[in-house]
């Protein structure tokens, strides 16, 4: 399980999360809903080990997280992958799509062009698109590359923070299907953060609402 317990985060004097707990179970999709500004993205970043909370604990399959961001041990860091709303802010503009997808494998010393090609194909990217740089492709095409990159190290948990909010309905359905296929074959747990109730009703096994009232709905 990927678990946040009693997590508190402050930005300056402002308390964004106040003792929030959330569990992402393996093999299941947890939906995280709530209005703008309620702290959804902050909680997603905490669970992806990208933000150290002021208080509280995060555990990944029982292992407590003590160091964050690039200081987190590689085994924990690569266990959780994060997908952002804005793919353009999440890629190096100098790299081609192939290089973007290949980056985590290369950084882990496991460069594998065949696997990169297979990941790209699964995300729906083919041919000369793969040789282009981010400014030469659409948001939807770039997000496909980000999904392929997120799956490359076979994370045990995927945190999808408004992954499809900027995209048209068809690309959204495609990318959710790619994540679902990965979840089903790998048994990974998924945290789907979205303000779109129709999407979470379709995608998530259960939903948690942050802000307003808290608790589980089925």
């Amino acid at each position: 399980m990927l678990e946040a317990r009693d997590v508190t985060v402050r930005y300056g004097r402002q308390v964004v999360l106040d003792g929030v707990s959330l569990t992402v179970e393996p093999g299941r999709v947890t939906g995280l809903a709530g209005p703008s500004g309620c702290g959804k993205s902050t909680l997603a970043r905490v669970l992806a080990l990208m933000l150290r909370p002021a208080a509280g604990t995060v555990t990944v399959d029982g292992a407590a997280v003590r160091r964050w961001r690039q200081r987190a041990p590689r085994g924990l860091r690569t266990a959780v992958a994060l997908l952002y709303q804005q793919p353009r802010l999440a890629v190096d503009p100098r790299l081609t799509l192939t290089e973007i997808i290949a980056e985590p494998l290369a950084a882990a010393g496991r460069a594998d062009p065949g696997r990169v090609a297979a990941l790209a194909a699964e995300a729906g990217l083919t041919g000369d698109l793969l040789g282009r740089r981010p400014h030469e492709v659409s948001d939807g095409q770039l997000q496909r590359a980000c999904v392929a990159r997120a799956l490359s190290l076979e994370p045990r948990y995927l945190v999808c923070d408004e992954m499809t909010t900027m995209l048209d309905a068809s690309t959204q359905a495609h990318l959710v299907a790619v994540v679902e296929a990965y979840r089903e074959r790998s048994g990974a747990g998924v945290l789907a953060v979205s303000h779109d109730d129709a999407l979470l009703a379709r995608w998530a096994h259960h939903r948690v609402r942050l802000g307003g009232f808290e608790g589980l709905e089925s």
Binding site: S138, D168, R202
Partner: protein, 364 residues
């Protein structure tokens, strides 16, 4: 070939025909694009959208391409539609289909390597004006902000970060020659549901919803009769999207014309009277919004509607073609379940659908 999006019978609830759109008959499809349109209202007093009787924007055969080294991007191909006061036309399609280029072409905001053909005729109290190729001075003095208000993508980043919302709104009012800019700014803010004190904030102190309202107030500073909203809901959550759409609907109901450009079918559904679905730079289906969303006839429109999470949630296979190498035949054929040998010729937009095998409309 000119096909207008004309008001239909089954309007969505809350989509009234105002005095600005007499009768339910748009100009007949097949009107000759080379003929001059009807004479506008000449010297009727310029007094806001209430006097917008004969106003309309008529786009015919609009084609935009960009010449790049070694390639030509055909961003918009032969697009025709009409927007009238009291009506909202939503132009929907996936990212990269050319819809924002179209908006920029209408406002003269395309980069220098753009090649534009076709007509975009603004008919209003100032007399008719051809927007395509109009001199920059004319666009700046008569069109942008005055006849046509723009609600931009991501309003928060559109504002200058180092000045308050009020400074920017009052500057716009002064440039537009409006008297008493301070009082007028307060009025505009109140009408958008903002407290006048909120105008004294800097852009980073505004929430997404407040920035949206400031953007609306800026677009309305010159009292335009036509509002061009280019993906106005980017980054807003669903309740804020709904509120932004309700605000657009309100502008429409007070007699303004709205051209909404969006990839969000649910946003379009909430506000649009008419829908135009764009694929690979062409309009593939047009018609009353309720009908197109409930009973789409073009396979692409049907695929988009089916991909919604509250419908089948099934993606359209494949991806849109590159605009640098559009096929000579139907651009959707490689992804289309109904494609066959007939699809080698590009289908014309006839009777609201550009397809050789339109889906049957059961009511027919």
């Amino acid at each position: 070939m000119s096909t207008s999006v004309s008001p239909g019978e089954d309007l969505p609830p809350g989509g009234p025909l105002t005095a600005g759109s007499p009768g339910a008959a748009g100009p007949s499809p097949g009107g000759d694009p080379s003929a001059d349109g009807p004479v506008p209202d000449g010297d009727s007093p310029v007094d806001g959208p209430a006097a917008a009787g004969g106003n309309r924007l008529r786009v015919e055969g609009l084609t935009v391409s960009f010449r790049l080294p070694g390639a030509t991007v055909r961003a918009v191909t032969d697009v025709s539609f009409e927007v009238r006061p009291g009506r909202c036309l939503a132009l929907v399609g996936e990212s990269g289909c050319g819809k924002s280029v179209l908006a920029h072409a209408l406002l003269g905001l395309l980069p220098g390597n753009a090649e534009v053909a076709g007509r975009a005729r603004l008919e209003h109290a100032d007399g008719p004006l051809e927007l395509l190729g109009a001199p920059e001075a004319v666009l700046a003095r008569r069109v942008r902000g005055r006849a046509v208000g723009l609600i931009p993508q991501s309003p928060a980043t559109h504002l200058t970060p180092v000045r308050t919302a009020r400074a920017q709104l009052e500057e716009a009012l002064r440039e537009l020659g409006r008297a008493r800019p301070r009082e007028r700014a307060d009025e505009l803010a109140l009408r958008q549901g903002l407290h006048p004190a909120d105008l004294d904030r800097y852009p980073h102190e505004l929430s997404g919803g407040m920035a949206q309202r400031v953007a609306n107030a800026m677009a309305l500073a010159g009292d335009p009769w036509l509002i061009l909203a280019d993906e106005p809901t980017g980054g807003l959550d669903r309740p804020l999207v709904d509120r932004a759409m309700a605000a657009l609907r309100g502008l429409c109901d007070e007699g303004r014309a709205i051209l909404l450009i969006t990839h969000d079918l649910r946003a379009a559904e909430r506000v649009a009277d008419d829908l135009a679905v764009m694929y690979a730079g062409r309009l593939v289906e047009t018609g009353p919004a309720g009908r197109v969303l409930d009973r789409p006839r073009h396979p692409y429109a049907a695929g988009l509607v089916n991909a919604r999470p509250d419908r089948a949630f099934v993606p359209i296979p494949g991806m849109p073609p590159e605009l640098t190498r559009l096929p000579d035949d139907c651009a959707f054929a490689p992804r289309c379940p109904s494609a066959d040998g007939a699809c080698t010729a590009p289908p014309p937009l006839a009777d609201g659908v550009a397809c050789h095998h339109p889906l049957e409309d059961d009511r027919a």
